[in-house]
Symmetry: C2
DNA sequence: TATATTAAGTTACATAAAGTAAGCAAACAT
DNA sequence: ATGTTTGCTTACTTTATGTAACTTAATATA
């Protein structure tokens, strides 16, 4: 791939947010924890992709996963501070969409 | 595909911005017009994709294309008001990346 | 005259990512 | 023994992206 002088941190941020569903998943978690199935039913995403994205987000420290050993098992996803810091970004996208789309 | 109650405007905004390179192209144009080759050399994107993305952005009214009939031809790309309105969004991503990545 | 140059793409082809649907594990209830 | 529920995973198909070569138009150069 080409090499450019693009800021590596901006580049990485764009890699994350410019990946399908990522920003919408963060958006779903802004108001608090949600379970796997809740996110899945709120978005036109498949379980396969949702699972993949949540793993990426967890690995990046944007989301935390909590398992409750109930029957059947319950798993909740929350934003970390790092993830919650994206509130203005996703909020900004929402505002822009309301004004221009 | 699944049907959800997700706001169609937010959904469309995410479709655009959550597509690889789109936000970075807007970011490149924030400070003013750029030529095709300038954008291409500022980003690790290929001409094929850049061409495709610029067409989409033009179609959405986010970018305007201006042809100067010089030899060889010169083509400039600018943000429209709609595109420039994304300044805070891409700026927000940049700030977040500086603080958290 | 033939060849080269330059910007701004386009085309053809290979690989990677996303969509779809079916299957699985655990721990019960029937 | 069979069914139910949640949270995934697997196998397979389709779409998106990456790579590199090619095109067009209008000159300039050998």
């Amino acid at each position: 791939m080409k090499e450019t002088l693009l800021c590596p941190r901006l580049s990485k941020a764009m890699d994350l947010l410019g990946k399908r569903w990522t920003a919408l998943i963060v958006y779903q978690l802004i108001d608090g924890a949600k379970r796997f199935n809740e996110i899945e039913s709120s978005l036109p995403i498949s379980g396969r992709l949702l699972s993949e994205r949540l793993k990426e987000l967890e690995k990046e420290g944007i989301v935390v996963r909590t398992v409750f050993s109930e029957v059947p098992v319950r798993v909740e996803y929350n934003l970390t501070d790092k993830g919650y810091a994206l509130k203005d970004v996703v909020g900004g996208i929402e505002s822009w969409s309301k004004e221009w789309l």
